[in-house]
């Protein structure tokens, strides 16, 4: 077939600059303003959570004294006194709660617990869910796959919050002392919500692995002698990272909501821990008595954070892998 002596091939004349996957992702991500807004919100929240002690104007647990003739909760901008030292004054920028604690400071510390919980929940759900899902997908349509996925279906058949409430109900709210180990309340909440979210990751992971296994490059790798575990870890899992990242971001929002929900119901974090859910729970009795700032600011904060996670998640989804954009959106 010696038709042409064509050693100078023009096909290669493409863009020559080396563009990494990250740069490509960033170009896509930047296109959508809303995802930038989401990223900024989450970035600020993370910053506030990490540096809470330096940012918060006051100690979140200190109860301040209302001026003569007034009662806590006091509106934004009120001046209060440090207990026992009537000459030392503080300003509560967002008002105080019914115990005279500074609302802004409590909210900032609330962000900290919130982030710990949502990251923790995702870490638990992700590590277990990804492992189970990857095994199920890799051994697709075997009894192992069936067993894992039916177990996931059982967990999934309960609404996650109800399941979490039930488990907390069994374990009991607050720190539990099992004799040999004392489980702090925070860890328990993380475990309980995380457990309820395992199936979501397992399902996404399974379908992603099943799909990846069908790819030609998996066959190509096999045909060149790669082993199964090598293919799973090097080819398949790496290609599922975008989907997992997107799922995790979107579930951060639901985890925030779930933890706030549990606290609101009195089954989550216990006072005096600063928690947005707990604050809302306490504040609900003040809704009709005119102390609007008490429920409104924690509620707004929750809303903005959840919005932020969702915007960020959507942006990541579009930027990381357009192929999955339809699948991700109807999951909720």
């Amino acid at each position: 077939m010696a038709t042409k002596e064509s050693t100078t091939v023009k096909e290669g004349a493409q863009t020559r600059e080396h563009r990494s996957q990250f740069e490509q992702f960033w170009r896509e991500f930047r296109k959508n303003r809303l995802s930038i807004v989401g990223a900024v919100i989450i970035g600020l929240t993370l910053f506030a959570a990490i540096f809470a002690p330096f940012i918060a104007p006051h100690d979140p647990a200190t109860q301040f004294d209302a001026p003569e003739g007034e009662h806590n909760p006091l509106p934004p901008g009120s001046t209060l006194f440090v207990e026992g030292e009537s000459n030392e004054q503080i300003t509560a920028y967002l008002g105080t709660d019914n115990h005279g604690r500074d609302l802004l400071s409590r909210m900032i510390f609330g962000l900290r617990t919130l982030m710990i919980i949502s990251i923790g929940v995702n870490a638990v759900a992700m590590s277990v869910g990804i492992a189970l899902g990857a095994i199920a997908g890799y051994l697709g349509n075997s009894w192992v796959d069936e067993t894992i996925m039916r177990a996931m279906d059982i967990i999934l058949s309960f609404p996650s919050l109800i399941l979490a409430i039930a488990i907390i109900g069994i374990l009991g709210a607050g720190t539990t002392d099992y004799g040999w180990i004392s489980v702090p309340n925070l860890a328990k909440i993380i475990f309980v919500i995380g457990f309820a979210y395992i199936p979501r990751f397992a399902r996404v992971m399974r379908s992603a692995v099943l799909k990846e296994m069908e790819e030609d490059y998996v066959d190509a790798a096999k045909s060149l002698g790669a082993s199964d575990t090598h293919i799973l870890t090097r080819d398949v899992l790496v290609n599922t990272i975008p989907i997992v990242v997107v799922q995790a971001t979107l579930y951060m929002a639901t985890a925030v909501l779930a933890s706030a929900g549990l606290s609101f119901l009195g089954l989550g974090l216990q006072p005096p821990t600063a928690s947005l859910g707990l604050m809302l729970s306490n504040a609900r009795s003040f809704v009709y008595s005119g102390q609007w700032w008490y429920p409104v600011f924690p509620g707004l904060a929750l809303m903005i954070i959840i919005l932020g996670f969702n915007l960020l998640g959507d942006g990541l989804r579009d930027a990381l892998d357009p192929r999955y954009s339809q699948e991700g959106s109807n999951d909720q």
Binding site: T3, T8, E11, Q14, A220, S227
Partner: protein, 346 residues
């Protein structure tokens, strides 16, 4: 072709269990490949060409399985090898190149790392050694500036360039046999010519034997030494490339040749083969080609002709083929293997 064949496939049967029934994708095929030879396997879509290749590599996924047959590579039956032994053979001794260069490379790794990975898997080359070899290979397959492009990602290459990369990957460990499964189907015609030219050149340079799977008779004429024509899972004709084009014996081969444009022919219309490839779960009785065959007679609907020598070094499976004798006279490798039963691979 007097040398000992490097690959001998005998009575290979690969089936797929589906809800509709058992699909006989490869139904008792035998062929051999000699050192330095290019064997073409030609047939329509769904005739079992790719499954044949995948069976040789033992990469048949469920619900498919190799039911019977032997695949002897250098005298050893590959079907009896363990999984780990097979992994050593794949890539190192027998390498494969796939149809679609757009999807056969992993998008998240640079092409250099993907080729080096194969080299490092089969040899004890160090990272820098593997990289040097990779650059050399990329040069071999005609990628300009290989040293600069080794760190590029697959999406930075065009289809033709990617197929070159895949070729580099396939030959990276100097395999004895290269199986090219429709390597140019996804490419345009000018690139196709370049790729085949390249395969030809590398085949000579590395002394490989090549199994070229294609539906394109033009490709066969240009590149192959010998040809096996496959229809509905069976080899219906096998011959040297010149003899085949000179005087095709099987009506199906003749039909295929009439259905491609010929510059020298004065005919203004092409003659298609009427009908479609039969449902592999319910093959017609007798010769599976008879419903589409212009020469079909009563006998064809009852008698299933096996592949049989019709001349020295050429075989056909048609009772009307010139030189096709009665069952008692000539026996081919196919027949003797068929009675052995072969090895099941379940």
């Amino acid at each position: 072709m007097t040398s000992e064949p490097i690959l001998e496939v005998e009575n290979l049967v690969t089936q797929f269990h589906t809800d509709e029934g058992v699909v006989k994708a490869v139904d008792g095929n035998s062929f051999s490949l000699h050192k330095g030879e290019v064997l073409g396997i030609v047939g329509e879509s769904g005739s079992g060409k790719s499954v044949t290749a995948m069976s040789v590599m033992q990469l048949i996924d469920k619900p498919g399985y190799i039911k019977a047959g032997t695949v002897r590579y250098k005298g050893e039956d590959l079907l009896e090898k363990s999984k780990a032994e097979m992994r050593q053979i794949r890539g190192n001794d027998i390498a494969m190149m796939f149809q679609d260069p757009m999807t056969s490379l992993n998008p998240v790794y640079t092409i250099g790392s993907q080729i080096s990975r194969v080299i490092r898997k089969h040899t004890d080359a160090s990272k820098p050694e593997a990289r040097d070899r990779t650059i050399e290979l990329l040069g071999d397959v005609g990628i300009p500036e290989p040293a600069a492009r080794v760190d590029d990602y697959p999406h930075q290459f065009s289809g033709g360039m990617r197929q070159r990369v895949l070729l580099a990957m396939a030959i990276s460990c100097d395999p004895e046999i290269l199986i090219a499964d429709e390597p140019t189907t996804a490419l345009d015609v000018t690139i196709e010519a370049q790729i085949f030219e390249l395969i030809d050149r590398l085949q000579e340079k590395y002394g490989m034997s090549v199994i070229l799977i294609t539906h394109d008779l033009g490709v066969v004429a240009g590149s192959c030494d010998r040809v096996a024509v496959v229809y509905a899972g069976r080899i219906v004709e096998r011959a040297g490339v010149e003899e085949l084009f000179e005087s095709p014996r099987h009506p199906y081969t003749r039909g295929l040749m009439r259905s491609i444009p010929n510059l020298r022919s004065s005919e203004s219309r092409l003659t298609p083969i009427k009908g479609q490839i039969p449902d592999l779960t319910a093959l017609p009785s007798g010769c599976s080609f008879h419903p589409r065959c212009v020469h079909a007679t009563e006998e064809c609907t009852q008698r299933d002709p096996e592949l049989r020598a019709v001349e020295t070094n050429r075989e056909a499976a048609c009772i009307h083929a010139l030189g096709y004798s009665n069952p008692a006279t000539t026996r081919t490798a196919t027949d003797s293997a068929a009675t052995d039963g072969g090895v099941s691979n379940e």
